[in-house]
Every structure is written in C-alpha cells, then in structure tokens.
Subunit: 292 residues, 2 copies
Amino acid sequence: MFPYPGEQQLRNLIEARLDQVLPASEEPPTRLHEAMRYSVLGGGKRFRALVCIASSVATGGSVDQALDPACAAELVHCFSLVHDDLPSMDDDALRRGKPTCHRVFGEGLALLAGDALFALAFEVLARMEAPPSVTTRCLQWLSEASGTKGMVGGQTMDIEAENSALDPSDLRGIHERKTGALVGASCAMGGACAGAAEEQQRALFEFGQLVGLAFQIWDDVLDEEGDASMMGKNAMSDRTKMKATYVSILGLEEARGEAERILDLAMKVAGPFGEKAEALRNFAKRAIRREC
Amino acid sequence: MFPYPGEQQLRNLIEARLDQVLPASEEPPTRLHEAMRYSVLGGGKRFRALVCIASSVATGGSVDQALDPACAAELVHCFSLVHDDLPSMDDDALRRGKPTCHRVFGEGLALLAGDALFALAFEVLARMEAPPSVTTRCLQWLSEASGTKGMVGGQTMDIEAENSALDPSDLRGIHERKTGALVGASCAMGGACAGAAEEQQRALFEFGQLVGLAFQIWDDVLDEEGDASMMGKNAMSDRTKMKATYVSILGLEEARGEAERILDLAMKVAGPFGEKAEALRNFAKRAIRREC
C-alpha cells in the first residue's frame, strides 16, 4: 500500500538499520548483546517504525530522514516487551513465537538487555543525522511517551487494575498511555524529521495515539478469539490473569465496533494531510486489522 | 570547598530541582510516583550532579546552566541502583540506609520505577533550557554512558565475572564502564552546557572516568573495612557474593594506593583547566575519600 519502496522493502530497510545499530554479538559483553539482538531482530511487525516513516512522507519528508527515529521507537517497544515478559511482571513464556528473553538468557540478563535497549534508543536519536533542533524535538516526543505520562505509566496502571472493575474510559486511559503514546510519538517524530510545523506534529501524535488504541482493542479481540498463531504469544493469557479487556467489558462485537469507531476518528484527524498521507492512513487501517 | 553557592547549598539546589522534575505522588499512577520519589529523594551524595555543575564552572559556565543535566545524571544513577538491587540482580535489602525500593513497593513496581526514572532522565534533558546543539551533545554523552558501552555493559560484566578469577585490568575495564562512564559523562555534560570545546569535553570525560574509578576502588576499601553506617548498605555484601574486588585482588593497602594513583592521574588531566577547576578537583578528592 506504500507507494514508495513498498511495505516489505521498508521492513527490510528497518531490519537492516536495526541490525546496524545493535551492538555485534562478538563484542563483549557478548551475552548481553546476544540477548538484545534476540529480542529485537527476526520478528515483530515494525508497526511503530512504519507509521513513523509514513508520517515523514505524509508531511513532505523522506524515508531516510525518519529511519533512525523509526528504529528508536522500535527499540523502546522491544525494551518494554522484554521487561513486561519478566517473571515479576506478566511472566510470559512466549513472544513473537519464540521463548521470551528471560527464558533463554535468564532473568538478570533480560532485565539488563531491556535497560540497554532503552539506552540504545536514545543513543540512536543522539547520533542521527539531523539538525539539533529536530533531534531535540524527537527526544522530547520519545522520552515523554516512554515514561510515566506514557508507556511505563500505562503499564503500571494496567497491572494495578488487575482484579478490579474498570469502565471503558478507565481502560481507554490505560491504553492511551501504554500503547497509544508510543505510536503517537512515532508519528510525531516522523513529522519532526520532515520539518513539519508544531501543529502538524501534534495532529500526528493524536492520529497515532488513536491508531495505537484501536490496535490494542483489536488485540483484545484477537486474544479472545484465541488465535495464538496470529498473535505469536499465548492466547487467552490476559483473560486467565483476570485482566479487564475491551472484550470483557464491552463484549466481542461491541469491542470490534469501538475499534472501528476510533479508527474512523483517527482517519478524520489525518484528513487534512491530504493525498500524501494516503499511505499512512491505509497502512494504519490494514495493520490494525492484521491485514499486513 | 566550592567557592560558589557552597557545597551544602548546591546539594539543596539539586535536591529541590529533583523534587520539581519528579512527578507528584498525588498524580496517578500514585504508587509508581511514590516509588520513584522514594528511590531518588532524601539520600544520596549527589556526587554525579556536583561534578557536573563543577565542570560547568570549570569551563566558564554557571551553576544554573548545568542543573538539569546534573539531575539527569542523578536520575540515571538512581535508576541503576533500583534495578541493581532487584532480586534477580544483587537482591539487596538496604540502600542508603533504607529498605530497597522492591522491598517497599514490590518487585514489579520497582522494575517499572527504574524504567520510569531512566525515561525521566532523558525527559529532563529534552526540556532543558539550552540551545538544541547543547541538548543534543548532552544526550550523546548520557545515552552512551548509560548503555552497553557504559553503565549497563559494566554491570553485566560485573555479574558475569562473579566466581571467576580476574586480574586488575579486567576489573578496571568493568568499573570504567560501570561507574566511570556516568561520572565521566556528568563532567562532560557540564562542559557542554558551558559551551566548552569538544576537546575540553573529552578531557572532562576522562577526568570523570578516572575519578569514578578511584571512587569505586575506595568503595571496595570501605566495603572491606565493613563500616555499614558510612556506606548506607550492607557491608561485606560484595565479599559474601564472591565478587572480585580491588581489595580481594590487590590487598587493602595496595588498593588504597591504586585509588590514590588514579586520583593523581585525574588531577593531571584536569590540570590544564587552571584555577577555575580548583573546586572541581578539590571536591573530587574529598568525595572519593568520603570527606564530604
């Protein structure tokens, strides 16, 4: 659906750049570097990277300009998966169809690999070829989306909400932070790289946040439907943990409808970007429905 | 020994700024914010923050210019302490004379609080009032010093070296990363804030790295001497874990001598900065010997 390189080619570009920025397994500390590479490479839809690049193009920028922030967003995402899977968190055995990082490398090393991936995300931003004002704006988007106002805050709220009654707006608040913020920041960074105005970057953030939310609701729908092969993780895992999900609160059909409504809203937000944002909009729609 | 505000006043300034940048306990997620504040405030010598500020002054800058990077360095340090203390790492019960974060808030929340402190460090850099070129340079120093080439890499090597025979140069390599890199980056960021030339920033990094190393050797000496009240953590904890230390490899007297030699070398590196760096040099000397 991308008119430029093509979706698979873009994924290859992202994969190659991730491979470049990750430290080599041969360099010490080798086990740490192996754990980092294991947790990032050879899996993952690269959703955040793709919307980052598509947002750059949507605002007149290029693929190359957004490649490093796209990789930084993926690294933050991978760091969060490694830590979320740890025994003291979700204690998951399977991720992207492979044993989780701590199952392969041990708990201590998985903790450190997550930390190192998080540091690497910022190192990639630090070294990107861009005017310092663009780097600084990307740093603002990414750091804010990662911390207590974003991903880590959302993850905490998600855990605290276990075994408690939530209404849809509580759940939305959690997932706007846990998933929405980083997808939003990915889009906004794409805009920043393209030199988009502040107002445009904010619109891209809002678009991405909505898309992330719709993605998460769809995740709950798929989790309920229990297709482990499609999810690459243990299906039903959220339900057995008594986590409130959109499906448990709204029911399957209504959850699907909510995902579509939020997606429609995202499309409206991205409307003013016109034709250049066509690929961004189409990609988001298809990614949410897992059509790509 | 600082000619400007005075050491205790500087510590108060740093404490007040940390209090400002940390999210309020009343804001949700409240437990996460409490855990972050618990792990940062009301303890700690602020060694990294003080050398950062002193480095700014040593290169013609002000205290204020370096206050935010100084806090960012402290936040990275605090994040590393929270994660190092976790059961899957050192499993420590006591830190700065208080129960460790996970003993108070639980393991999952301590993990997330560490992650959030790391994110906050970069958010503080992102929002500092400085030309974007200075922010970007600080980001480079801090991210590189935190990751696999720095703190996290050193921590990994330290764990991997448990129960194995090390020579002094192995141990030096570990602590240059684990402790030296962040102290070095703190000094270099101070220089960056003051607009110091690249060469000066590199000299400040080298100075800080040596000072961090001497600090670590002195730590081993104090750990051996077993004065828990001075250390604020369980004395002898490294020995019972069969970790190689400077003392176990070199003996107590030789370790003390090595600390002094490295400190002398650091003083030589800082020599060319002249009189303006007097406070920086004096503070480093006294801090290493725990005289302040």
